[in-house]
């Protein structure tokens, strides 16, 4: 017997959870599609973003969302300086370029996690926000937690902004041209180094600010990154590698799978179900559930 009140609430939970995943999946998918980087550091960007929120929020009257513009700028700059390093290790005449990219970002992730742990210690840190508290209850439907709703809106907005940039601006056009063929893009006068840096910077900025939101929803902790790396991978596998619009569907599928498994099967089996889905999807349809992903190995 399915209780309708609980059922709709589970749907809401799943969708909003999916919204959180979308905030991470968007940039990751972009980074993959354009730069062919499988980035192990994605979760650590979330973590560092959350810590920036925790550390800087007191400066802004204990209001985490005011930190976001700073995070956007700082992460954009940091990301655009990191990208050339990644580009360097994944191109040229190196053996195993893909592995080199994976391992380089793994080193970066270890560095970021270790640095935050060494500097801030292992304690949980709150990212305060007095604006985003509580929930809005819609009678007969369920409760929408404010901070999660805002985060989901942020994620979807981020996706739309990215898509606008990619499909409606010259810079975005250049990035898509690079994604399709780097050499031909150069022949059109596109400075591929610059635009790849921009793309990676934008990805880092979005992921870092997602970290601020995630810090508000949960808590900031040096060890939190790993699970978001896992979820970013889930997202791109389900969405199809580099297929940006698929990210929304992937987020929804992931969120709903998680909430329904947790409530109607067992909380203990959530991760097992998710990993099993990823494994099976990869074996059966490596281009994602929509079959539109592209993998450039």
């Amino acid at each position: 017997m399915v209780d309708i009140g609980l059922f709709t609430q589970i749907v809401i939970n799943g969708l909003l959870l999916g919204g959180i995943y979308i905030t991470i999946g968007v940039g990751f998918s972009l980074a993959f599609g354009v730069l062919e980087v499988v980035d192990f550091a994605v979760g650590e960007y979330v973590m560092v973003g959350a810590f920036m929120g925790a550390v800087l929020a007191p400066v802004f009257g204990a209001e985490g969302i005011f930190v976001i513009p700073i995070v956007l700028v700082v992460f954009f700059l940091a990301g655009s300086l990191i990208q050339p390093l990644i580009h360097h290790v994944t191109t040229g005449d190196r053996p195993h370029p893909l592995l080199m990219g994976l391992v380089f970002t793994f080193g970066l992730a270890t560095f970021l996690r270790g640095s935050v742990l060494t500097i801030f210690g292992p304690n949980n840190q709150d990212v305060p926000s007095s604006l985003l508290t509580g929930g809005v209850t819609v009678p007969g439907v369920g409760t929408f937690p404010v901070v999660r709703t805002v985060t989901a809106v942020f994620g979807v907005t981020g996706l739309l902004v990215f898509m606008y940039y990619l499909y409606r601006t010259r810079g975005g056009m250049a990035i898509r041209a690079i994604a399709e063929d780097r050499t031909n893009a150069r022949l059109m006068g596109i400075n591929i180094n610059r635009y790849q840096s921009i793309a990676y910077g934008a990805y880092a900025a979005l992921t870092g600010s997602a970290g601020v939101f995630i810090g508000m929803i949960f808590t900031a902790n040096p060890g939190m990154g790993l699970q978001y790396t896992a979820f970013a991978f889930f997202m791109v596998v389900l969405a199809g590698m580099g297929y940006l619009p698929g990210v929304i569907l992937a987020g929804i599928v992931l969120g709903l799978t998680q909430s329904f498994t947790a409530v109607y099967i067992s909380g203990n089996l959530v991760l097992l179900v998710l990993f099993a889905i990823i494994y099976v999807v990869l074996l059966v349809s490596p281009a994602g559930i929509l079959g539109k992903g592209e993998w450039a190995t």
Binding site: L85, L117, N193, L272
Partner: protein
Amino acid sequence: MSGPVPSLDRLPGDPRYWYAGLAVLLVAWPLLFGAFWARIGLGALMWIGLAQSWNMIGGYAGYLDFGHGAYFGIGAFAAGIAMAQFGYPFLVGFGLAIVVSSIVSYLVAVPTLRLTGAYFAIATWAFAESIKQTALVTGITGGTFGLSLPRSPDTFVGVPVPFAISETFFYYAMLVLCLATMALTYYLFERHEFGYRVKALRDDQDAAESLGIDTTRVKRQVYVLSCVVAAVFGSVHAWYIVYIHPNDVLAPIITDRMVIMALLGGLGTLTGPVAGGLLVFLLERLSSVFLGSTTFYLPLIGVLIMVTVLFAPSGIIGILRGEVDRDDVRKNVKELGEKFDLL
């Protein structure tokens, strides 16, 4: 001698003396330095062996197995379950570890080895996590409580072992396993046609097929072999550490370490995993001895990995062999500089 065993030959004097010295040191190690250093030694030997097991599939065959740690855990739990749940002696657990890991790895190999590159990496990683999650919710593995193995003295081939969990015993056990793994790697991958076929499919799969090499079969063979080796180390680890938990023996960090060790040392080389395994293991384990109580070793390892990948992609062995020299680094720096082109 060309290629595979370069390090000692480069030292001054007759290399035979160096090898003999090394052999004496390895054998005398626990007797010379006592229990703690025996433990460090046996840990290093285990990680060298594990890194080498990853090197078989990841280095020689070129398949980025990001779920290899699962087989370490499978071996540990196979031995653990045999000993703790059924009261069998270790050797039964050891055998079970081999049998179970062969079966599981073969079943995984058939569908998963059709994938390549990052697809394969993510699929194996998802598989390993699935195994860990399963172990966490299954009764026979002790689930979330883990398994405590019997501590009573065991028998070895029917002969009672007087020091069932003594470091010295396990040091020699790991020494034997590690040397066996090294010897197996040397023989199979550096001296036997099998290894040539494995490297052939890594370098050019189509060319390998055109030369009569059944690449599908060879891939499966390497995968199963490397997984069984990891499981063997897992089973001995369980016997030694006495208490096993999915979050420990099936942790993703186990795979991560193997990959990092093999890569830092030098992929697809016999001695690379030795160099990388020693470096990473000692850096982690001895950081508290040398750096004090700090987590500073983590960012240090991170930087080390990044610098190696940037400037010495063939790893420590590459540097030792002179494949990476100052000119390469300079060229690397120059090329890298050109890529900073934001403004």
